[in-house]
Structure formats: structure tokens, C-alpha cells
């Protein structure tokens, strides 16, 4: 038994972290709000150079052949800087779906190669979401239609922009017509892939929310040292210390379920529902709680547009509701637990069969 990451996994996450901390600042995020697409070709070129789009693309299709467990730490780092570029969803949600079909589908195989090489971008829709993220800069869209999955060129659909509460997010609704030519999966295969996609999206969101939560607490701790009231830093007050300590407890305790969810998804994806929902719920709670307590600690400053905190707060708000909101995932957990064949009890919780 070993519930730790390997040195390679850790090194990879650290290198991504160094890159992101150097490139992404609150100022650069705010600057992106003012641009038409909200996205930067230059930044994307750097992201591609690091190999991030190719992470979960199998080696035979030009990728790095990594697993969810290898990249979950990277997703946390993307959350920590509130990254606005769509790398997490593209790499962790869209490419695995294409990879599942690529052995028997040339179109998917070709596209994977292009994504790995930084020549194409793809956005992915799901029935659990009401909108698609980053469809406006995608070359292709993966779109569900009943039990079918379609791969459609962006030029062949009509996008209508939807504004998000998070100015960093660029969302669209998609008007399109399914055809035989665009269908890449259907029937039982389509249903299974859509179910797996939901889990991957939820994992990607959960991981980012852990990074968001830690970033907000770090900023708040720093502010509590700087801001003076009653002739001393506000951080000396127990009331505020406890707010931050409670956040730390929630976030740390959300990491273990998150790591476990990444592990199960990479080892036995067909059994991952419970682990994924667990991770999404606790990560969302941690992020929203960190947002609430961080604003409270910042006082009225935390309620201003000028204070950077809302960049993280609004991303948490959006991701908590995206890829299945808390109620959705709690109900999935209930259903799993109430199943007459649910594998619960000590031997299942701690025994060898537990994944």
C-alpha cells in the first residue's frame, strides 16, 4: 500500500507549477477579460511546448501516454493560478474520449495527433452541463446526442456566447444537426463513454477546486499579516485564525478522496462513480468554504472588484456547479450506498478488494 505520488509524478507537477506561477498572474487574467477570445495563442504555444495537451494521449497516437493519476496534481496547479486557458478540460476530458475510439476510428486518431502536436483544439459538451466551455476557440466539438457521440467541426455548428459569472470563462450554447457522418460512437458504447466523460469532467473540476481553495487561503493568510486593526495585524485574532484553520482542514481532507478518485479512474474506470462523486462534493465544499472565509477575512476589501479574490471565488462558484453540481453528486453517492449489492462494510472499506 502506498498512498503517495512517485517522484516523477511530483516532478512533473512541480515543473507545471513553476511555469504557471511564472506566467499567470491576477493581472494577466484581468487582461484576458478585455480581449475578444479571452485566450492567448502565445500562452497556448507554451502550454503545448510543455506537452500538456498530449498528456493523456496514448503514445501510439503521438502522446505521452500518461494516466489521470499522473496529471491530477497538474490540474490542482492550474486551479491554484485560476488558469483561464482550457488545458485541463481538453487534456483530461476530451482526449481520453477520443483515445478510447482512436484504435478503430481514423478521424479520432488523426485529431489526437493534431491535439498532441498543438495543431488543433477540441471542446466537449455533456448533458450534465447546460453550456460548452471554450467552444469559441475550438477546431472541433465533441457533442452528445441521445446515446450517440458526434465529432463536429466548429465551422459546421452555430455558437451562441453565454456570459459566465466568472469573467475568465467563455461559454457557448451550440446549435447543430447530428448526421451519420459526424457520429463517432453510439448505443452502449456511446452511453459508456458519456458516463466516463462525466467522471473525467468531475475529476478535473474537483482537482482545480483544491488548487483554488489553497490559493485563496494563502492570499488571506498573507493579507491577515498586512492589515492592521486595533493596532495589530488582524491575523492575531483567534476568530480569523480559526476561519483559516477550518479551511485548511476541509481542503486537506478533500485531497485524499481526490487522489483516490484519480487512482480509481486510472485503474478501474467502470467502478469510479462513487469515488468521483465523493471527490467532487468535498472539493466543491472546500473551495466554496475557502471563498466564503477568505472574503470574510478580507472584510469589505474582499467584496470589491479591485481585490483579486473574486477571480478565485467566481471560478469556484462555476466549477462547483459544472460537471454535476453538489446535489447531483450527493444523490449519486446515495444511490450507490443504497444499492442492495453496495460494497460497504469493513472488508470493503479497508480490504484488498477496495479500490
Amino acid at each position: 500500500m502506498d498512498f503517495t505520488f512517485t517522484e516523477d509524478q511530483q516532478l512533473f507537477a512541480d515543473s507545471v507549477k513553476d511555469f504557471l506561477q511564472g506566467e499567470i498572474t491576477a493581472e494577466s487574467i484581468r487582461a484576458s477579460w478585455e480581449t475578444e477570445t479571452g485566450r492567448s495563442d502565445e500562452l497556448w504555444a507554451q502550454i503545448t511546448e510543455l506537452g500538456l495537451p498530449a498528456m493523456l494521449v496514448p503514445e501510439e497516437f503521438g502522446g505521452l501516454g500518461m494516466t489521470e493519476l499522473d496529471v491530477v496534481l497538474m490540474a490542482i496547479e492550474c486551479g491554484r493560478v485560476a488558469l483561464h486557458e482550457p488545458i485541463v478540460e481538453m487534456a483530461m476530458v476530451a482526449t481520453p474520449l477520443l483515445a478510447a475510439l482512436a484504435p478503430n476510428n481514423e478521424k479520432c486518431a488523426d485529431l489526437l495527433g493534431q491535439i498532441a502536436g498543438g495543431e488543433a483544439k477540441v471542446a466537449i459538451a455533456h448533458t450534465v452541463n447546460h453550456v460548452v466551455a471554450d467552444a469559441h476557440i475550438a477546431d472541433y466539438l465533441i457533442l452528445p446526442h441521445a446515446d450517440q457521440i458526434h465529432l463536429v467541426a466548429q465551422a459546421d455548428v452555430k455558437l451562441e456566447a453565454q456570459e459566465s459569472v466568472d469573467p475568465s470563462r467563455r461559454l457557448s450554447t451550440v446549435d447543430w444537426t447530428p448526421s451519420e457522418a459526424t457520429c463517432i460512437a453510439s448505443g452502449a458504447e456511446g452511453v459508456a463513454l458519456l458516463a466516463a466523460t462525466l467522471n473525467r469532467g468531475a475529476l478535473a473540476s474537483a482537482a482545480q477546486m483544491i488548487g483554488l481553495a489553497e490559493a485563496m487561503v494563502a492570499r488571506s493568510v498573507q493579507y491577515s499579516e498586512e492589515r492592521q486593526q486595533f493596532g495589530k495585524p488582524i491575523g492575531v485574532n483567534q476568530a480569523l485564525k480559526h476561519h483559516m484553520a477550518n479551511c485548511a482542514v476541509k481542503t486537506e481532507f478533500a485531497k485524499a478522496p481526490l487522489y483516490r478518485a484519480a487512482y480509481v479512474l486510472s485503474m478501474k474506470p467502470e467502478s469510479a462513480d462513487f469515488a468521483i462523486s465523493h471527490a467532487k462534493v468535498v472539493a466543491g465544499e472546500a473551495a466554496l468554504f475557502a471563498a466564503k472565509n477568505s472574503i470574510q477575512l478580507h472584510g469589505a476589501m474582499g467584496y470589491t472588484w479591485e481585490c483579486d479574490l473574486h477571480i478565485w471565488m467566481k471560478r469556484s462558484w462555476a466549477l462547483d456547479k459544472f460537471w454535476g453540481h453538489a446535489g447531483f453528486h450527493k444523490n449519486r453517492t446515495h444511490q450507490w450506498l443504497m444499492n442492495p449489492n453496495a460494497q460497504i462494510g469493513a472488508d470493503n472499506t479497508f480490504g484488498a478488494v477496495a479500490i
Binding site: 450534465v128 452541463n129 447546460h130 453550456v131 453565454q162 456570459e163 459566465s164 459569472v165 466568472d166 469573467p167 470563462r169 461559454l171 492592521q228 486593526q229 486595533f230 493596532g231 488582524i234 485574532n237 476568530a239 480569523l240 466554496l288 466564503k292 472574503i295 470574510q296 472584510g299 469589505a300 474582499g302 467584496y303 470589491t304 472588484w305 479591485e306 473574486h310 471565488m313 467566481k314 462558484w317 462555476a318 456547479k321 459544472f322 453540481h325 453538489a326 446535489g327 447531483f328 450527493k330 444523490n331
Partner: protein
């Protein structure tokens, strides 16, 4: 104990409801359910006109004594008025700082001259007030006032220099009340004065602060040799803290009365959405809605209890009033979270651009300030523990 209203009060309720029903029409229809918390920047001109309409009917300052132009309503009638006002969706009072804070302070502590000069404008709904308390370095530590007032013998006026912040509706206001240091060598709550000042003068500059809602309801206000008439200090120089504390009692008490019906309106809207989108089938949502409802009832019962013991007319409240701000602010913040969870994925999508929040989205953001302004939750808990329970006070920097 008697938990029902008298027949006379019920008649009063009908009178209020009928007047509102007859008058909240035509040009004012668009104001229904607008201008409340998180929406106070909306329709300022139209809401000023509505304020004057209310005044024509004698429905401003209903709790003030008749001698000052009020309606002299009993506590029960004030409760009824506020309930009916919110029930029909009448807009947020653009004059509430004058009516709820400045006016009662002037009535309690002001001179006869000040009463005659300022109260009629508030009653008529024509003169709006804002509150100059907080400063960049004086938030929770309210007494850490740096704004200075010195009396200029030549001009025969007070000269004010400094900065206030988080001043709600300063950009719409005619007057501001300001606490400033009259004794430059003093610290903390000693040596302060309480000043009534005209906003429209060269020495005052107002700059809007953009909130996380993308709108600006409050402001920074800069005083650069701003002038205040010699007669417009309330109380003596050095008594400003006493006056300011009396006023905070109003803020935490009577002026929050009408909000419970607004809360009820919000809860009703959330319940409607839950029924519409199916969220009501989720047992965790059902429990949270039920909890929100029962806690709203607690607030209502408690405020009736609070106000029953009052009746002295000086606006002072009893001990149980100390808990009220903490309770409603925390409740309202949870209410925002519940609303977004009921909306689910739709909660992320704006009505339109640029940054056009729906009422509930705006409320979800605004409630973050509820637990901060007028004394943060942490300050409220200190007050409950120290003043309510008599626990040892935290060591403070000693005043000279």
C-alpha cells in the same frame, strides 16, 4: 403575552396595503422588488420620485414622533408598515439612511435648530443622506478615525480633512454625517466630533468603488478642506463617539425591520425555482429550504420580542438585539448559497452582457457583504461575548 395584532392595527394594515396598491402603479410599477440589498444602485431617480410619493401620502418616517413630521406609529404599526411595504414589492427606500439613521440621531442628540433644518427634508423624501464612518484604516476598529476637524475662527466654520470609505449612495446624497477628530492629540474613541455636512461643495469628492457584482453602490469620499457650519456639529466636540454609538443602535435595530419580508420574498422565489426545475425533489434541498423557512420565523419572532420590550422611543434596544445582526447576516449568506444550489448549473450563466447578473446571482454576491458591514460577524460575536455574557474584554490599545 399577546401575539396577535389589535383590531385597530389590522385596520392600519388594510390602510397601508390599500395605499400601496393604489400608488405603486404606472411609472412606479417597474420599481417593484427593485432597489433592495445588492440592487441599491438601480433606478435612483425613479426611486427618489417614489420617496416623494410616499411622503405625499405621509408614509415616510412613520415611526418618528408627530412633532418632527413623522406619523407617530407604534412599534406594532411600524412592523405592519414594513411588512406590507415589502409584501407588495415596493422598492428599497433610497432615503433609508436619513430616515433610519441621520434623522433618529438628530432627534435624539441634535439641537432644535438642527431638527428644523434637516428633519423636514428627510420627511419630504427630498434630501438624501449618507454615512461617513469607515475609513481605510478604520473598519472593525471604527474608533481609529484619522479624518480631522479643526475650527477656523476666521471663517467661523469647521474644516474637515480626510477620507471615508464604503459610503453607500454617497453619489446620490445631499448630506453626509461624518465622525472626525476634533482633538488632534486624541486617540481611539476620545476627541471625536459628529458633523452634518453638505455633499455639494468643492472640498468633497466622491469616487465609486466597483463591487464584485460589477456595480457601484458605495464610494470613497475625500474631504479636502471641506466646510461644515459651526452649528452643524451634533453634541459637543469630543462627544462624537457617544452620538455615533447611539446611531449604531439604530442601524442594528429598528432600521432592519422591513428586511424580513424581503427575505421572505427571496425565499419564495427560490422555492418557485425549486418547484420549476425539479430541485425540490432533492431531499437535501428540501431540508435546507425548510431550515431557511424556520430560521426566518425565528428572526420574526425574535424581532417582535425585541421590539415589544422597547417602546421608549429613543431607539435603544435590549440585550437580545445584540444577536440579531449576526443571525440575519449569517442566515442571508446561507440563503444565497441555497439559491445557487437550487439553480444548479444555471446559476453560472448571466442574463446577458456586460456582466448582467440576475437578482438571485446578485443577491448571492451581495450577501457576502452582509456578514461584514455594520460590524463583522467576528465583531458581533465579540459584542455578544463581552457585552452580552460579560466575558473578559480583549486587550485594546489604550486611549490617551
Amino acid at each position: 403575552m399577546k401575539l396577535s395584532f389589535s383590531a385597530e392595527d389590522e385596520l392600519f394594515r388594510k390602510e397601508v396595503a390599500a395605499w400601496l396598491n393604489d400608488n405603486l402603479v404606472g411609472e412606479f410599477t417597474q420599481l417593484k422588488f427593485r432597489g433592495g440589498p445588492g440592487d441599491e444602485h438601480m433606478f435612483p431617480e425613479e426611486r427618489k420620485a417614489w420617496e416623494q410619493k410616499l411622503a405625499e401620502g405621509g408614509w415616510t418616517c412613520v415611526g418618528w414622533p408627530k412633532e418632527y413630521g413623522g406619523r407617530g406609529c407604534s412599534i406594532e404599526q411600524q412592523v405592519i408598515f414594513n411588512e406590507e411595504y415589502a409584501r407588495c414589492g415596493a422598492p428599497g427606500h433610497v432615503g433609508h439612511i436619513g430616515e433610519g439613521l441621520a434623522g433618529p440621531t438628530i432627534i435624539a442628540f441634535g439641537t432644535e435648530e438642527q431638527k428644523q433644518k434637516y428633519l423636514p427634508g428627510i420627511v419630504a423624501g427630498k434630501e438624501l443622506w449618507c454615512q461617513g464612518y469607515s475609513e481605510p484604516g478604520a473598519g472593525s476598529d471604527l474608533a481609529n478615525v484619522k479624518t480631522k476637524a479643526r475650527f477656523d475662527e476666521e471663517k467661523g466654520k469647521w474644516i474637515i480633512n480626510g477620507q471615508k470609505v464604503w459610503t453607500s449612495l454617497a453619489h446620490e446624497s445631499d448630506y453626509v454625517f461624518v465622525i472626525a477628530r476634533t482633538d488632534p492629540d486624541s486617540v481611539a474613541h476620545k476627541g471625536l466630533g459628529f458633523f452634518l455636512m453638505k455633499m455639494d461643495q468643492p472640498g468633497i469628492e466622491v469616487r465609486g468603488i466597483e463591487q464584485i457584482t460589477g456595480t457601484s453602490e458605495f464610494n470613497e469620499v475625500f474631504f479636502d478642506d471641506a466646510e461644515c457650519e459651526a452649528d452643524d456639529i451634533v453634541g459637543a466636540p469630543g462627544e462624537g463617539w457617544k452620538v455615533a454609538m447611539g446611531l449604531l443602535g439604530f442601524e442594528r435595530g429598528v432600521s432592519t425591520l422591513g428586511q424580513q419580508m424581503q427575505f421572505q420574498n427571496e425565499l419564495n422565489q427560490v422555492i418557485d425555482i425549486a418547484k420549476e426545475n425539479g430541485a425540490y425533489q432533492d431531499p437535501t434541498i428540501r431540508q435546507r429550504i425548510a431550515k431557511a423557512h424556520t430560521e426566518l420565523k425565528i428572526m420574526r419572532y425574535n424581532s417582535m420580542r425585541m421590539l415589544s420590550g422597547q417602546g421608549g422611543g429613543d431607539g435603544s434596544l435590549q440585550k437580545e438585539a445584540l444577536i440579531y445582526k449576526l443571525f440575519w447576516a449569517t442566515w442571508h449568506r446561507s440563503m444565497g448559497e441555497l439559491a445557487m444550489d437550487v439553480m444548479g448549473p444555471e446559476s453560472e450563466i448571466l442574463d446577458g452582457g456586460p456582466y448582467e447578473l440576475s437578482r438571485l446571482q446578485s443577491m448571492y454576491l451581495f450577501v457576502r457583504s452582509d456578514t461584514i458591514y455594520g460590524g463583522t460577524n467576528e465583531i458581533q460575536r465579540n459584542i455578544i461575548a463581552e457585552r452580552g455574557l460579560g466575558m473578559p474584554k480583549e486587550p485594546r490599545v489604550a486611549a490617551k
